[in-house]
């Protein structure tokens, strides 16, 4: 374990998050009661819902930091947007994978063009484009502006995903967590606790990953700066 944390450069906060994830795994797979209709496969919900919440949080952060970046043009907000987009995309992939795995035994199909699923797919594709553009043209100022606009557009898709089950009729069930009867009113208490722990732990883990991703981007800036200085000194040396 110690070797793994060293190899992956996991800080003490990261270790706390990983321990939290293991506790959450225990609560979700063993401690929470078995759902009567769907059976054990319903336990996918504890991680599916938590990762969906993190993806929404991350993309909301991309939108907010992109607006601030367009306004102030400060690199630090661009770093926040980029980091949140990458980490959010990882969690969005988890949602897009665990959703069909849960859907197959319950709905009888891996995928259906239900409104919530369709808007989730649109969001995922927006961020595929966003991250590809980051890799290919991140250092061009006009591209940065375009990326900020794309990030804001992605954020505008979130309400459509969130309220899709209320606005349109589809196969995806209504939100059990934020129902009209109250927070998590449609679930048993033990299920609510397992889901709450999962959401809290994933939120902490998201901030841990954000911190690491932002530090990585600052390190990239430092490398670029050093390369520029070296090139300038080399040119100066040749001229003299």
């Amino acid at each position: 374990m110690a070797e793994l944390t060293t190899r992956l450069r996991i800080t003490p906060f990261g270790v706390i998050c990983l321990v939290g994830l293991i506790i959450s795994l225990y609560l979700s797979l063993i401690w929470a009661p078995r759902e009567r209709v769907m059976g054990d496969v319903q336990r996918i919900m504890y991680f599916h819902v938590a990762t969906a919440w993190i993806a929404e949080l991350a993309f909301l952060l991309v939108g907010i930091s992109s607006i601030i970046y367009l306004w102030l043009r400060e690199r630090k907000w661009d770093i926040v947007a980029y980091s949140a987009a990458e980490v959010g995309f990882v969690f969005c992939c988890f949602v897009m994978i665990t959703g069909p795995i849960w859907g197959k035994p319950v709905w009888g199909t891996w995928w259906t063009w239900d409104p919530r699923l369709t808007f989730s797919m649109i969001l995922w594709l927006i961020y595929v484009g966003y991250l590809m553009l980051r890799v290919y043209g991140d250092d061009i100022p006009q591209v940065k502006t375009f990326l900020a606009v794309l990030g804001i557009l992605g954020t505008l898709d979130i309400p459509f995903i969130h309220f899709a089950t209320m606005w349109w009729r589809g196969l995806h069930p209504d939100s059990l967590v934020m129902s009209e009867e109250g927070l998590g009113a449609g679930m048993e208490v033990d299920m609510r606790i397992a889901l709450a722990v999962s959401a809290i732990v994933f939120t902490l883990f998201f901030f841990y990953l954000m911190g690491r991703r932002m530090a990585l981007e600052r390190l990239r800036d430092e490398t670029e700066d050093l390369r520029d200085r070296l090139e300038y000194m080399n040119n100066d040396n040749i001229r003299n």
Binding site: R9, L29, G39, D40, V41, F47, T223, L226, R227, L230
Partner: protein, 53 residues
Amino acid sequence: MDQNFWYLFSAYTLIWVGLFVYLFTLASREKKLETEVVQLKKLLEELEKKFKE
């Protein structure tokens, strides 16, 4: 065993494997950039010394 067990197993396994793969890529990118920063700083120091001489 519940025939749906494999769906549950694959969903959780994919999330855990995915998280560790992402942590591993972060660590390797960090290591690569840190090594580059050290090398570039060393080169800059050498050039500055040359300039002074």
